[in-house]
Amino acid sequence: MSVTNEEYRPLIVAFCCNWCSYAGADLAGNNRLAYPADVKIIRVPCSCRVNPAFILRAFQRGADGVIICGCHPGDCHYTSGNYYTRRRMALLFSMLDYLGIEKERTRVEWVSAAEGAKFAATMNDFCKTVAALGENKRLEDLRCKK
């Protein structure tokens, strides 16, 4: 079931909050810290803007992994947004796992604007994990396959 074919590259959607994680990703760029091009970042004002529907939509449209990055708890630009993110995602991920969907395909990571290295390391690790799982079959929408 898992695809170990070298050709296979996972598609990763990363939601990054504008104030910490997106800046962290920029810092990773400034420092030329490489991570796979599989990661495509979507900028949101705060991680709490990420609706569970966005995550499911990404899977539907062919994403193999979805990661949400926000400020560290306590450091939210909007004081409490990421606390809500944490609850929502804890519940959502637990539900996805309950439905038998590989829990490694979803992740929340707190990355500050100073953590360029952490951002790159996180993305490298996440890509590796998702690549090992292979294509997303359990939450795919066949209509969206080419």
């Binding site: 997106y22 091009a37 709490c48 609706n51 449209r61 630009h77 909007y78 809500y84």
Partner: protein
């Protein structure tokens, strides 16, 4: 359908080195809505910006996608460019193909491919962008300071100095707060009254400042720049405008046995009273709970002796509503009650006192005229035991104490010990501590002087029990360094009680929709970067209401809060962030979920009448967002089940479109 122009930047070789910019602009030209696509060496340069401006004119562009460096770098630049060419700045989206693409990927093929995808996502988003205009709201150029302690006084003076009117609301009959009750201040040992009372007088005399003493805030409506605040002026039964503060009434009043709050009940006052000699405003106040005239109509002495005729037994609470542009919270602190700390016998013995009571005992204007005398028998104490951290740093005793460090106790205890030894060299002074924390300018030197020059016995350990026996207080304690039990027969025990926010803060926070931590200290908008602002726009924090503070820190924060207020009041109009939440009223169910998660209290509910398709009208409860208050985090949009709440600039459909474009 938009007419979109795509502009791919080479950024010298920064982008073009890893990304085939030509291929990117070619590929993006085929995307829906794109009518023009080009690339250029430096888009942010004047020449690059001119390319954009010319294209806008030539191709009648309605949307712009710039594939370049991070929007954190040049989003503002390109928005200005767009605006100068006549299209709404919020019709610009940036695809970050430098920091998040060319700089982190080495291979041209994958780099180019990813750049195209990022560009596609930006185009998909712009296709759904709508012009946004930031809201403008006028600013009422008046500030309200809640609390008349040193924090409130300093804030008010600084704001008034900048030329803006300020009102201070103080619930006590006089301003001055806790500092007025202090004797000396550490580490310089200057007299609190000597430095505070001139400021109180300044406040009284400042034309820009109004003092509402003996008053409380009862209602707050509105938002930054436009608060409507209702202030309750409690009936003081003495006309402030007439009373001269002569004090004749306070001497003649037959009700003499009322515990004097200012001296923490260690002496008495009359039913009509002026809290202390330097009170501002210096007017008498009748205590309705004890005044015979008010209680049963039999007395009227004060009225008879008042030559000014200021007494008015028929006075009522007055309510007035004022407009303010900014609100500063300076509600201060109180020592926590000691009645739950039975081990220290506070309730059993008058000779177990708190540090604040000790301040009054040492104060020349205090109950003993500044002589250190035991409250129980008026004798001079010889052995004094100071207990630090009573109720502070108390993880195990959350039900009676506090988990946090009250911060000021170490220093004032050192001060008390030093002053005692200085005035009364015949005393033995013991201080029991967990740690001595002295991080402040000249603080540690001060503490060391207490130990080294004044011979105060500092013992690391906790007092286990204080038991009154005869006229002595048996103190059982442990010395953690020597690892032994200590028994001291003390004459006076002074407890460094933890401090907590004033009880009035919680209801006030609710009115202001300002958030509080679990200890009821106000939270800052950002713990590091915005320490004097509350998360609620236009509400600022000054002094111990935000966390334990000493006087210099309080004054510093008071000044900082004032400067933030001045910065706000200087503006004629407030320009909002246009990327704010916006509810679709037809879809709103009125469930209040969004209101609950909004960190800024920007969402309120109104009952609104709607015309239904069948031409009937229906009253529905719907959410309303105050755009001047909303900061645009989007938390409410996810809490909203029906999707009625959306975030301008980051609409659900825009993010879906980005996801779709990336996952195509």
């Amino acid at each position: 359908m938009q007419r979109i122009g795509v502009f791919v930047c080479h950024c010298g070789t920064n982008i073009a080195g890893t990304v085939n910019v030509e291929a990117v602009s070619d590929a993006l030209r085929k995307e829906p809505g794109v009518v023009f696509s080009t690339n250029y060496q430096y888009m942010c340069s004047q020449a690059g910006q001119d390319i954009i401006k010319n294209a806008i004119a030539e191709y009648k562009l309605t949307g712009i996608v710039v594939c370049s460096c991070s929007p954190r770098m040049h989003e503002a630049t390109f928005r200005k460019t767009a605006a100068s060419a006549g299209i709404n700045p919020y019709m610009v989206e940036i695809a970050n193909i430098r920091e998040q693409c060319s700089w982190v990927h080495k291979d041209t093929l994958t780099g180019t491919e990813k750049a195209i995808i990022l560009g596609r996502a930006a185009i998909a988003k712009v296709n759904l962008n709508a012009p946004l205009t930031p809201g403008q709201t006028p600013v009422t150029k008046r500030a309200l300071v809640i609390g008349g302690g040193i924090a409130g006084i300093q804030t008010a003076l600084d704001i008034a100095d900048a030329g803006f009117p300020v009102d201070i609301v103080e619930k006590k009959p006089t301003i001055g707060g806790k500092m007025a009750q202090l004797d000396k201040t550490f580490p310089t040992l200057d007299c609190a009254a000597c430095i505070l009372t001139p400021k109180m007088v300044d406040v009284a005399q400042n034309e820009k400042i109004r003092i509402f003493s003996y008053s409380e805030v009862t209602e707050v409506h509105g938002f930054v720049g436009n608060f409507d605040v209702t202030i309750k002026k409690k009936a003081r039964y003495v006309r402030e405008d007439i009373c001269t503060g002569c004090g004749a009434c306070t001497e003649k009043c037959p009700q003499k046995k009322i515990p004097n709050e200012f001296n923490l009940g260690m002496d008495t006052r009359r039913a009509i009273y002026i809290p202390f000699a330097q009170a501002v405003p210096k007017v008498a106040t009748i205590d309705p709970d004890h005044c015979n005239m008010l209680k049963n109509g039999k007395c009227g002495v004060c009225s008879k002796v008042c030559t000014a005729g200021a007494i008015d037994y028929n006075a009522k609470d007055e309510f007035l509503t004022e407009k303010y542009g900014a609100i500063v919270v300076a509600t201060g602190f109180n020592p926590i009650p000691m009645d739950k700390f039975d081990e220290f016998a506070y309730s059993q013995s008058k000779d177990v006192i708190t540090s604040l009571e000790f301040e009054r005992l040492m104060n020349a204007a205090g109950p003993t005229g500044g002589k250190l005398l035991r409250p129980s028998d008026g004798e001079h104490p010889h052995t004094l035991v100071f207990v630090q951290c009573v109720g502070s740093r108390c993880e195990a005793c959350a039900e009676k104490g506090k988990e946090y460090c009250s911060k000021i106790c170490c220093m004032y205890t050192a001060k008390h010990a030093m002053l005692t030894r200085d005035k009364y060299p015949d005393t033995e002074v013991y201080v029991f501590y967990i740690d001595v924390r002295t991080p402040g300018k000249n603080f540690d030197e001060f503490y060391r002087r207490a130990v080294e020059e004044y011979g105060v016995h500092y013992i690391k350990g906790m007092v286990g029990k204080v038991s009154p026996e005869g006229n002595k207080l048996k103190v059982q304690a442990s010395d953690l360094i020597e690892n032994r039990q200590i028994h001291i027969d003390a004459d006076l025990v002074v407890l460094a009680a933890a401090i907590e926010p004033d009880k009035s803060a919680r209801p006030l926070a609710t009115m202001l929709t300002a958030s509080m931590d679990t200890n009821d200290f106000f939270t800052e908008a950002h713990p590091k970067l915005r320490p004097v602002e509350s998360p609620t726009a236009g509400v600022f924090l000054s002094g111990a209401c935000q966390g334990p503070k000493d006087i210099p820190e309080t004054v510093a924060q008071a000044g900082a809060a004032a400067s933030k207020v001045i910065g706000l009041l200087c503006k004629d109009q407030l320009t909002g962030n246009p990327c704010v939440a916006h509810p679709d009223e037809m879809m709103c169910s009125g469930c209040s979920n969004c209101e609950k998660v909004c960190p800024y209290g920007a969402i309120t509910y109104v009952d609104k009448e709607f015309r239904m398709p069948d031409r009937t009208t229906k009253v529905r409860r719907v959410a309303q967002v105050n755009e001047a208050v909303c900061q645009g985090c989007g938390c409410c949009t996810v809490a909203c089940m029906s999707g009625a709440m959306d975030l301008k600039g980051f609409k659900n459909e825009q993010i879906f479109a980005e996801v779709d474009a990336i996952c195509r």
